[in-house]
């Protein structure tokens, strides 16, 4: 740099205090969002010679391909290239952890819709039309679609895992009361509004740059390199933002990026691959359906004594992340409750459906919902209010603090959120009011439930708990921060910018968070497990602290400032009555040849888990919350609606309360969809029948309750040393929606004065609710058959 940029003497921002961490800044892209200027992969400007790729899909769920004629595809006007697995130069398996996910099907088809070949054409429409022209002959086999057939054939994607603590066998036998429960928990389509998309540009030396809508740029980079037979340094992956992820772009984005990359390099043309909604729904993995079973022993007051719990995850056709997902279901089998003696087993069954994958909560919701049914069912059995049963069984320190995986729970917020919420939501008054209503109203019945959430924070795979950041300060004082996390709407980039701005005492406008790029920060972890801010925020903070300490050293040498006197605030640096602007200091430091670029790194301390003994400390800390939901059920149709929701959630010291509240509200409503309206139905032949927005119903605006009171727990800094003592918030609130399902069962059981435990599989559609209402005479607890 020969000539320094001229610095403008800026006025102090009048609302400076609001620039700090801890305040309700709007999302860094909010203005771009509302003006339509925020670009997603399909919005990026492309050169005129861009080509469009699409995949041809199998029309069998389990079959051997005997013949595939691709001539008609090739012959369509506008088609440029057609590839099968044989044309992939490098690895052909893109399984993220274990093998099992071929980039294109070899001769065996594992699920209906599985991509068989990819076609490249001069328009999106042509590529899609051409993809339908293949003539494929199959020898089909009976697909495995449920737990019963998978168990009969011992078809698994991974071996089972068991955790236990205490003498559960004898305790179960000796318990004064026993209950057996079976529940079928439905899966869930992510329905991110932006479908899967990738845009690949060929680079020199056979390399490629890929713009991918992914939560895991590094894994996309690695897999693209592998399928091309390249070293990773030849591949760059860039992710500015996603139009929603929710776990659906943690592993599932890779296939489209890999195919686009292979075709781009092979044809030396830019290639875009974007899935149409219906195909996205058919092709990509979903939340795992679970079949859960419990055998529990308890005393006459409803205190748990022993439990035998079994989780059966339907994993689809390959392992993907199912091992960790079923593990996380098992880790959350206790939710908030101390289980004195317990055995937990988790099975990973294979089904001939698309490979199920990460989804907000990552198995946690499916694990937690079983123990919440246990609480409600015990309450009705012993004739006490479910809230009291929950409080009595809560983790409460001392000899009641050890989880089934031998990590001690010491989380004062857990009991606080429940007790404070019971007060602020008028739980007990409303319990009486609802009792009165139900005695008077014949057709419409109301239900109420309070359920807590205790969610373990950290990746249960230890090595993923690390993050990096790269911070540049330019000589005009402006700052670029790049980190390994991706922005999918959760506001991660906003929080990271707030953290950097707070450490360096500058305005938010000074800090630019750039797109996530594998050539800026390498070897990153997926943005998942709610860990985005915890790990990337801390890494970015460490980078800022490095720069800060260099600048302080410089001030010490040049101006004899004492380190402890230097204050970075208000876009200024002050020491001992001296002051200069941050930008002036940066210029001076540059002139003195001080590096203004730094990396930051963070690894989560303390965590470990030994799978062979099923013991350890897999979680750095727990995030807690509780919700009270009130529902009304129409006994003629089973239709129901949510009258009121109250939530109290613990986010530690919030870095941005508005964004945290957004995560809580959004997570809750997404959980509401999972448990009520969102139903995945497969036909007997293994074809997904609910494959569009017309047939698969995520919550619409009228599903948001009129009374929706969401509060953050006050004065509750994280006990663990996280960035600014905040807590993760992405996933935990999702499970607060279990209160809705619990309230529905409460309303249903009002029909026989809360004596019987209704069986209510999820999603609790009007049909399931109506059958549960009707079964109140027949004493429930049988697992209804999956839909026809």
């Amino acid at each position: 740099m020969r000539k320094m940029p001229k610095l403008q003497s800026k006025q102090q921002p009048s609302d400076y205090k609001q620039q700090h961490a801890g305040h309700n800044l709007h999302h860094e892209s909010a203005v771009l969002h509302v003006t339509g200027k925020a670009r997603y992969v399909d919005d990026l400007l492309t050169p005129a010679n861009v080509l469009h790729a699409y995949v041809g899909m199998a029309e069998q769920a389990r079959a051997t391909i005997t013949h595939m004629n691709l001539q008609p595809v090739r012959q369509m006007v506008g088609v440029v290239d057609v590839i099968t697995i044989a044309d992939v130069p490098g690895h052909t398996d893109i399984g993220p952890v274990f093998p099992g996910d071929p980039i294109l099907a070899p001769d065996q088809v594992q699920f209906y819709g599985q991509p068989l070949f990819a076609v490249l054409a001069n328009s999106y429409h042509t590529a899609r039309c051409a993809a339908q022209l293949a003539q494929v002959e199959y020898v089909s086999q009976q697909p495995i679609l449920d737990e019963t057939s998978a168990r009969a054939q011992q078809a698994t994607v991974r071996p089972p895992h068991t955790m236990q603590r205490g003498e559960w066998t004898s305790a179960l036998k000796q318990a004064p009361q026993r209950l057996q429960i079976e529940q079928c928990i439905g899966g869930q389509e992510h329905f991110y509004l932006e479908g899967q998309a990738a845009l690949a540009y060929p680079a020199e030396q056979g390399g490629v740059t890929v713009y991918s809508s992914t939560q895991h740029p590094t894994e996309v980079q690695k897999l693209v390199a592998e399928v091309l037979g390249l070293a990773m340094h030849r591949v760059i992956v860039d992710t500015r933002r996603m139009g929603g992820g929710f776990g659906g772009k943690e592993t599932q984005a890779a296939q489209w990026a890999c195919l686009a990359a292979v075709l781009a390099v092979r044809n030396q043309r830019p290639v875009k691959l974007r899935l149409a909604r219906r195909d996205d729904m058919v092709l990509t993995g979903k939340r795992h359906p679970f079949i859960n079973r419990a055998d529990i022993g308890f005393n006459d007051q409803g205190e748990l004594q022993a439990l035998k719990l079994e989780f059966n995850g339907l994993c689809g056709c390959s392992p993907d992340l199912s091992d960790a997902i079923v593990d996380r279901a098992m880790f959350h089998a206790d939710n908030a409750y101390f289980l004195p003696a317990v055995q937990i087993t988790g099975h990973r069954w294979l089904t001939h459906t698309t490979s199920n994958t990460a989804y907000r909560g990552f198995g946690g919701p499916q694990g937690m919902i079983l123990i919440e049914q246990v609480m409600d069912d015990i309450a009705r059995r012993v004739g006490r209010d479910p809230l009291n049963i929950r409080l009595d069984n809560l983790y409460s320190g001392n000899d009641r603090s050890l989880t089934p995986y031998h990590q001690a729970v010491s989380e004062p917020a857990l009991e606080r959120v429940i007790r404070e919420l019971a007060d602020t939501s008028d739980y007990w008054t409303r319990r009486d009011e609802i009792g009165n209503w139900n005695r008077q109203s014949k057709r419409y019945k109301r239900g109420l439930a309070l359920t807590p959430v205790k969610f373990g924070i950290s990746f249960t795979v230890q090595h993923l708990n690390q993050a990096g950041a790269l911070l540049h300060v330019y000589i005009d004082g402006s700052i670029q921060i790049n980190h390994g996390g991706t922005e999918m709407g959760q506001g991660l980039h906003t929080k990271v910018a707030q953290i950097v701005a707070a450490e360096l005492g500058v305005e938010m406008e000074t800090v630019e968070v750039t797109s996530t790029r594998t050539d800026k920060v390498p070897n990153t972890s997926p943005t998942a497990a709610s860990s985005g801010t915890d790990i990337n925020g801390q890494a970015a903070r460490n980078a800022a602290l490095t720069i800060k300490s260099r600048l302080i050293d410089f001030l010490q040498q040049q101006h004899q400032a004492k380190a402890e006197d230097v204050v970075f605030a208000n876009q200024q640096v002050n020491w001992n009555g001296h002051s200069m602007s941050f930008a002036e200091l940066c210029q001076a430091a540059y002139m003195a040849r001080i590096s203004l670029s730094a990396t930051g790194y963070y690894r989560t301390p303390k965590i470990h888990y030994d799978r062979s003994s099923a013991a350890g400390q897999p979680f750095f800390y727990y995030a807690c919350g509780a919700a009270v939901s009130e529902v009304e059920v129409d006994t003629l149709t089973g239709m129901h609606h949510l009258r009121r929701v109250d939530i109290l959630h613990d986010v530690g010291n919030s870095i941005n309360p508005a964004l945290d509240q957004g995560q809580i509200e959004g997570g809750f409503i997404q959980g509401l969809g999972w448990l009520t309206t969102e139903e995945l139905v497969w036909g007997n032949e293994g074809r997904l029948q609910t494959d569009s927005g017309a047939s698969y119903k995520i919550p619409a605006i009228g599903d948001t309750p009129t009374q929706f009171n969401v509060q953050l727990l006050t004065d509750s800094p994280n006990q663990a040393k996280t960035v600014f003592r905040s807590k993760a918030v992405g996933e935990p609130p999702f499970m607060l929606a279990i209160s809705v399902w619990s309230a529905l069962r409460d309303a249903i059981s009002s029909l026989d004065d809360y004596r019987t435990n209704p069986s209510l599989d999820t999603p609790a559609t009007p049909e399931r609710v109506l059958w549960a209402l009707q079964s109140m005479d027949n004493h429930g607890n049988t697992c209804a058959k999956a839909s026809e």
């Binding site: 200027k37 509004l193 139009g243 017309a694 619409a700 009007p766």
Partner: protein, 490 residues
């Protein structure tokens, strides 16, 4: 060649390609990527734009529509407003600012659609103070209706609702976008579209006749052409099944088919009348029908879709035919210059089959006016309230005199291959004294009337059960109401 306005620009578009959607054109040819494709089927609203049209009274009225299922040819003479045009003098529009202020976007992909739907709502309502529970509830209902076709997967909608609350009392008068409205009206009115009329069966294009005679001529010349009004169903053949639609004839510009009037014995509804117009028109006559219309599709769909389309698509799960059947409605069909009027119950031949002959079209729908003592009930059962397709839709029209059934008609959707009447049950009830035994007996006859199927929306057993529950509830209510009016009379 057609002309329309896109934001501030006059567009001349060569209408030879009939089946290009507005969204494809905006994104691919104009690089206006603010409008997003979330589903290409009118289910998510991420592509919502406003379309302005100069109405008969000279007013410029804007409606929200899904650009993904709107054919270019239908825009002739309209003003298309996209999210890119809202910022004025570098400032966010009040609607945009409200969403920013209330943290109404997370991933942002659905946001442009919400901006446009909110703008459509804001422009079409008067400023209102939300100072009482009643007007707050009415406001919320109106906002939910306006945004019923916009899905958001991130926010849970709460901040968007709060943004709407903050906008409600604000004056619309200072909206810079509306300053030059008169000029815009003049420009739109000056547009004079003419397009080539089909003369042979091999004709391809998008033709918008302005009178029924031209429509008849064109359709007779090219019976292979498809008729299009709202395109909310037809367009899915293109966007979901990738089937070309090379020859389209548009009904929307035909004045006669836009008629909506009360005649001596009937309500007359032209084939091009939108479902949204129906909502307010029907309310004085059949409020229960109007209520159900608010749950048919989304606001965007109701802006575009028509009742005639709902009938002609012959879907067994269409929501208006059950009501129309129960009300003994008729359809006026026309071919060439010949018209015939038939009962709607005779219109359906089988699954997706109707009596329509080649080159014959629905001209209008005749709904009888309510008669004395007539009671009308309707209910729709679906997994989600907004924008969902019925598992069962049921309508009952009944006339009771001192507890005796004088007239009864039951229309149902989702229970058979076509929307259908419950004839056996009607016979059971007709002329009988309605009492609990008779109401209970309906369960058996309904089982004879309908043998529904199981599909992903509901099982056959559920459909049967819920139909029985609803019908018995309707009858019970009718009986109670009749008893009350008798008391009143006594």
């Amino acid at each position: 060649m057609i002309e329309f306005m896109l934001n501030q620009e006059l567009i001349q578009w060569d209408a030879t390609v009939s089946d290009l959607t507005l969204l494809q054109w905006l994104r691919e040819e104009r690089q206006l990527t603010g409008s997003k494709e979330g589903c290409a089927a009118g289910d998510c609203g991420a592509c919502t734009v406003l379309v302005g049209q100069v109405e008969e009274e000279g007013q410029l009225k804007y409606r929200s529509i899904n650009a993904c299922i709107c054919f270019m040819g239908s825009l002739a003479g309209h003003h298309v407003l996209t999210v890119e045009s809202l910022q004025q003098e570098g400032n966010l529009h009040p609607v945009q600012q409200a969403l920013v202020d209330h943290h109404g976007s997370q991933c942002g992909f659905c946001t442009p659609g919400f901006v446009m739907s909110l703008l459509g709502w804001w422009w079409n309502t008067e400023p209102q103070q939300l100072d009482s529970e009643v007007n707050f509830a009415n406001h919320r209902h109106e906002v939910e209706q306006a945004l019923s076709g916009n899905l958001c997967r991130c926010t849970g909608y709460q901040p968007i609702l709060l943004a709407a609350d903050s906008l409600a009392p604000r004056s619309r008068a200072d909206d810079l976008l509306l300053v030059d409205k008169e000029k815009l009206i003049a420009r739109l009115t000056a547009i004079n579209n003419s397009n080539a009329q089909p003369t042979t069966s091999t004709w391809q294009g998008f033709y918008s006749p302005t009178n029924v005679a031209d429509l008849s001529l064109a359709y007779t010349a090219c019976p292979e052409a498809r008729l299009v009004a709202g395109a909310t169903d037809l367009s899915l053949e293109l966007t979901q099944k990738l089937q070309p639609l090379p020859s389209l004839i548009n009904l929307k510009q035909i004045t006669e088919l836009n008629q909506l009037q009360q005649q001596e014995r009937h309500l007359v509804i032209g084939a091009a009348v939108s479902l949204l117009q129906m909502e307010s028109f029907l309310r004085p006559y059949y409020p229960a029908f109007a209520d159900i219309l608010t749950w048919l599709g989304s606001r965007q769909i109701r802006h575009q879709g028509t009742m005639a389309g709902n009938i002609a698509s012959a879907s067994p799960i269409a929501d208006t035919p059950p009501a129309l059947l129960a009300l003994d409605s008729q359809v006026v069909l026309q071919r060439g210059s010949q018209q015939r009027t038939i009962a709607l119950s005779d219109f359906y031949l089988g699954y997706r089959q109707t009596v329509l002959r080649p080159a014959e079209f629905i001209h209008s729908i005749l709904i009888p006016l309510p008669v004395a003592r007539q009671q009308f009930f309707m209910a729709k059962v679906s997994k989600r309230k907004e924008d969902d397709i019925s598992a069962v839709c049921l309508a009952l029209s009944i006339v009771l005199q001192s507890g005796v059934v004088q007239q009864v008609a039951i229309g149902a959707g989702g229970l058979a291959a076509t929307p259908a009447r419950a004839r056996t049950t009607e016979s059971l009830l007709q002329g009988q004294t309605l009492d609990h035994n008779l109401i209970n007996a309906c369960g058996n006859t309904l089982a004879k009337d309908f043998q529904p199927i199981s599909d992903f929306r509901a099982s056959a057993a559920y459909r049967r059960q819920v139909t029985q529950n609803l019908l018995q509830d309707f009858l019970q209510k009718a009986l109670s109401h009749d008893a009350l009016t008798q008391e009143g009379a006594a």
